[in-house]
């Protein structure tokens, strides 16, 4: 365990990762309750909270989905608990209804949501900007620019939440979550806050007459934000050139200004209070400036807010940013991109771009070596092609999103959001009665099944849609780092619990699930193909534990090797089937010999490639579990 998460050593400087800083901040805030559904980049937070929960006397859980998580937090808040809910941008959007209602009824015990956005979509399908949600839901939002601030803002947010009796959101981005820097630890609370029983006349209800109080809370927040110590000015207090930053934008802009030697020419304002914008604080500087550049991650949220402000106040100022196209409109920012914007602000002419360090070959994302999903999609691809009319394949969100790339044999035709697969497929499946002459197959992971598939499956079955759901049961939320889900036998706090059976749920819906092992390829093909011959809503569970989990359980891994004297290489009859088509990272190519070779470092010893090799050149030996 990481001692610095709970060390009672105020002022001690430790190297903390952003996600650890959030955990430490929550400990310093003396939380009582934490709930989350994993979503990178902030997935690690609840895992760590779970580990220290018992020691610190609070409760932590992995909820089945983000709606469950936030509403559990609202429940805790009603009993005066301080609760933290950790999600990523998609999770925040998923809970939109709960959030809007929650903002209207407010909170009792402090409630802080930590959401992490993923500019450039490093581990997401999108780079959505959660800041819009603060605006539509009328919830105050903070964004740290450093890891120290990430920690410090958690207790600050709780105090604010309790002062306002309102939810407070802290927005992070990937660089803050995954970056590391020195952080001075704060004080630990002397004792943890008392839970109080819910009084007969205690109320947290979303009713329309709370609309006005909700807006009043926002006004109050703005008033507080006018003097918030996290908003700051660097460089001259007032100047013609104003740069307003949100989040990590500050660090990029600061470095760019330094590079350009423009420290004396530019007023650099960092806004930590994203919503509501402290209007007076901003206006004072705007009135003195001629031009303003906004440097923020993803959408022009601050930019639009100050543009509206300038318009309302009749200030004649040139506003530049990602919305005006003066900064790149998409993707993650960096120093160079910030420099491009500042050069425009200062009329300096374009930057000479750096030469690329090396010509790196383009590479697709791929499943890990030995991943059962590869076998599952191999099975799926075969079955889709076996159909008279190529079957239609609908994906979902998880590692298996890579179904759309080489690792999944390019078998994904549509992907909306988490839990969407069954619903999309339900709709298509209905059309098979109206002229769609195709089999419709959709996939979901085990964690996704519990997260948001069940209602869709019920809808499909009830409405008699012709659709096959493949549940990829690898016993883990592998995408985000093996957090337990309701199908597992241990909770976030390490307590044994009864796993919830996917089969039992499917059966209760009135469908008899077929279970297949994707590593037994021929059998799995036969089983899935069997389902394509049936009408109605069908379920097949592809069960094989995640390779990374398995390789941890295996004592001695099987030795897999290629007998190159037998291998067909790139000759007709094989043409590098293992490394080119099957594509497991363990299947490599020996350029000298012109034959296949196993990369023994990557190979986990699953041995599936040996079953597929057309020459029988791949051998499997030994192994111990």
């Amino acid at each position: 365990m990481k001692w610095y998460l709970t060390a009672d050593d105020p002022g001690k400087v430790c190297l903390l990762q952003g996600n650890e800083a959030i955990v430490r901040g929550a400990v310093e805030a003396g939380i009582n309750f934490a709930a989350s559904y994993p979503g990178s980049p902030s997935s690690q937070v609840l895992g760590m909270l779970g580990e220290i929960a018992e020691e610190r006397g609070f409760y932590a859980e992995w909820s089945a989905n983000e709606i469950c998580a936030i509403q559990a937090c609202f429940g805790a808040s009603l009993a005066n608990a301080r609760s933290i809910c950790v999600v990523k941008q998609n999770g925040l959007f998923l809970m939109a209804d709960a959030l809007h209602c929650g903002a209207q009824h407010g909170v009792k015990g402090g409630l802080v949501i930590v959401t992490s956005d993923d500019p450039d979509a490093h581990s997401s399908t999108n780079e959505f900007d959660s800041r819009h949600t603060a605006k539509t839901a009328n919830i105050p939002m903070l964004e740290p620019t450093t890891i120290q601030e990430a920690k410090d803002m958690v207790p600050y947010a709780f105090e604010l939440s309790e002062k306002l009796r309102q939810v407070v959101i802290i927005r992070l981005t990937t660089r803050v979550c995954h970056g590391r820097s020195n952080v001075a630890l704060g004080e630990l609370p002397k004792e943890i806050r008392k839970i109080s029983n819910v009084g007969e006349w205690d109320r947290l209800t979303c009713v329309n007459f709370m609309h006005k109080p909700m807006l009043d809370k926002l006004d109050k927040a703005e008033e507080i934000f006018e003097t918030c110590e996290y908003n700051r000015i660097e460089g001259p207090d007032f100047s013609e050139n104003l740069v307003i930053c949100g989040g990590t934008g500050r660090l990029y802009a600061k470095e760019a200004i330094k590079r350009l030697g423009a420290e004396e020419k530019v007023t650099l304002m960092s806004l930590a209070t994203i919503w509501p914008i402290p209007r007076k604080y901003v206006l004072d500087r705007m009135k003195a400036a001629k031009r303003v550049l906004v440097v923020e991650e993803v959408d022009p949220v601050i930019e639009d807010a100050i543009a509206a402000l300038a318009g309302r106040e009749g200030i004649n100022i040139k506003i530049m940013g990602r919305g005006t196209g003066d900064m790149v409109r998409i993707g993650e920012l960096n120093q160079d991109k910030a420099e491009d914007g500042i050069r425009k602000l200062l009329d300096m002419g374009p930057r000479t771009p750096d030469k690329p360090v090396a010509d790196l070959p383009a590479r697709e994302m791929n499943f890990c070596a030995g991943c059962p999903h590869r076998a599952t999609f191999y099975v799926l691809k075969r079955v889709l092609r076996m159909e008279k009319v190529y079957g239609c394949s609908i994906g979902d969100i998880g590692c298996y999103f890579m179904q759309g790339q080489n690792g999944g044999f390019y078998s994904n035709q549509m992907d909306n959001c988490m839990g969407s697969g069954i619903n999309v497929a339900e709709g298509l499946g209905q059309l098979t009665k109206y002229g769609l002459d195709q089999k419709v197959i959709t996939v979901c992971g085990d964690s996704t099944f519990f997260h948001s598939i069940i209602p869709g499956l019920i809808s499909a079955k009830f409405n008699m849609s012709n659709v096959i759901l493949m549940i990829l049961d690898n016993s883990a939320t592998a995408m985000t780092g093996f957090q337990p889900h309701p199908g597992c036998d241990v909770t976030a706090m390490g307590k044994p619990t009864q796993p919830i059976s996917i089969e039992a749920i499917v059966r209760a819906i009135g469908i008899e699930p077929v279970v297949a092992d994707p590593f037994d390829i021929d059998d799995a093909v036969a089983k899935l193909r069997g389902l394509t011959k049936k009408d109605g809503t069908q379920v097949i569970i592809m069960r094989q534990p995640c390779a990374t989990l398995m390789s941890k359980r295996v004592k001695v891994k099987k030795r897999v090797y290629v007998d190159q004297s037998v291998c067909f290489g790139d000759d007709c009859g094989c043409n590098r089937f293992c490394s080119r088509v099957w594509g497991c990272p363990g299947n490599s190519w020996d350029f000298k010999a012109g034959k296949a070779v196993i990369d023994t470092v990557s190979c986990v010893g699953c041995g599936v490639c040996a079953k597929l090799c057309p020459s029988g050149a791949i051998k499997v030996e030994g192994g111990e579990e």
Binding site: K381, R382, R385, M386, K388, F409, D570, D571, C572, G573, C574, N575, F577, R580, V581, L612, P614
Partner: protein, 353 residues
């Protein structure tokens, strides 16, 4: 062009694929389901056996005939020719389960016994359904393949697999005309470095063919008129009857030919070969003045090559085959029937243009 794409765009998507299986059984890319040829994954080779074995890819037929039928007369309508016989299996047990006279079953069994072949790739079915390629290595296994299926399974995939394994050195094969051509393309070794042991191909036994049927279409017809679990036989009597006969549970059921012909495999409409011109011997149903009741237990047999001649003569000499006199008009009638199929196919192709 990539081999897999060539076959897909020039043969499969054009509805020319016969489902013979010549492209299959050698690599993980090709397979077949219910008579449909499937490319599971794209192969990026431009030179491949799949496309060079496919009977529907361009072929120099003249050169093939010249190479493999030296000394045989070439009759334009029916191909290489040495003799025409009317034959049947002498063994009544064989005749009982075979399609017509049991000539194929008797001859392949004899060829195995006499060492002409050491195994035989055949087609097995349950009364004509669920057809699949089989490697027969014993007389019992050969007999189990008696009878015709009008489904077209990828039997040559089994030939390819057998040759690849290289265990049997004289592999006989029973083929329809499309498959026969593919086998001779294999024997011709289009990729000399990669011949899949084509020298191990033994005697080629052709069967005449009018057309094959859509896999599921035939299943549906059989299901509609019979209990498919009791199906034991299916055949098409001479054209004047205009029907297909099914035998289920010993009962003969007649199905109007129009209903059956609606299910003809699209590729068969373009096929110009009725008598399986690429084979050592070719066998079909007999047509004589005796009428269908007698003819249905006899075969016409065309001997095409020296090897075929040797085998047939020995089989007759050893009393394995019964023979009867061939009517004078038989060859002319056969030529006319074969020319009829060819001209229909040519007309169909012209119509598409």
């Amino acid at each position: 062009m990539l081999s897999t794409i060539a076959l897909d765009t020039q043969v499969i998507q054009k509805d020319l694929c016969t489902g013979c299986g010549a492209c299959q059984g050698m690599c993980p890319y090709w397979g077949s389901v219910e008579g449909r040829t499937i490319c599971y994954f794209d192969c990026d080779r431009t030179e491949g056996r799949c496309q060079s074995f496919c009977p529907k890819m361009p072929t120099d037929l003249e050169a093939l005939r010249a190479k493999f039928f030296e000394g045989s007369e070439i009759i334009p309508e029916i191909g290489p020719f040495r003799a025409l016989y009317l034959t049947q299996a002498a063994d009544p047990e064989i005749r009982k389960n075979s399609q017509h006279g049991g000539t194929i079953t008797a001859l392949t069994e004899f060829a195995l016994k006499e060492g002409f072949i050491d195994s035989c790739v055949m087609t097995k079915s349950e009364g004509g359904l669920n057809a699949r390629g089989e490697l027969a290595t014993t007389a019992e296994e050969i007999r189990a393949c008696s009878g015709s299926s009008f489904q077209i399974p990828p039997t040559l995939a089994v030939l390819n697999k057998t040759l690849k394994e290289n265990k049997y050195k004289k592999v006989g094969v029973v083929t329809t005309p499309c498959k026969g051509l593919a086998v001779y393309k294999m024997k011709n070794k289009p990729l000399p470095e990669k011949d899949n042991n084509a020298d191990n191909i033994g005697i080629v036994f052709g069967v005449f063919c009018g057309w094959g049927l859509d896999w599921n279409g035939l299943e549906d017809i059989c299901g509609k008129y019979s209990d498919v679990t009791k199906l034991s036989h299916m055949d098409i009597p001479p054209s004047k009857y205009h029907r297909m006969d099914l035998v289920a549970d010993g009962q003969e059921i007649h199905v109007d030919l129009d209903e059956v012909e609606a299910q003809v495999r699209p590729a068969c409409h373009y096929c110009t070969d009725m008598t399986c011109e690429f084979a050592d011997i070719s066998v079909g149903g007999a047509r004589s003045a005796d009428g269908w009741d007698v003819d249905k237990s006899w075969n016409q047999l065309i001997v095409r090559s020296a090897k075929g001649e040797e085998l047939v003569k020995l089989a007759i000499e050893k009393g394995v085959l019964n023979v009867k006199e061939v009517p004078e008009t038989a060859l002319e009638k056969l030529k006319k029937a074969a020319a009829g199929k060819r001209s229909k196919a040519v007309a169909k192709a012209a119509e598409d243009k």
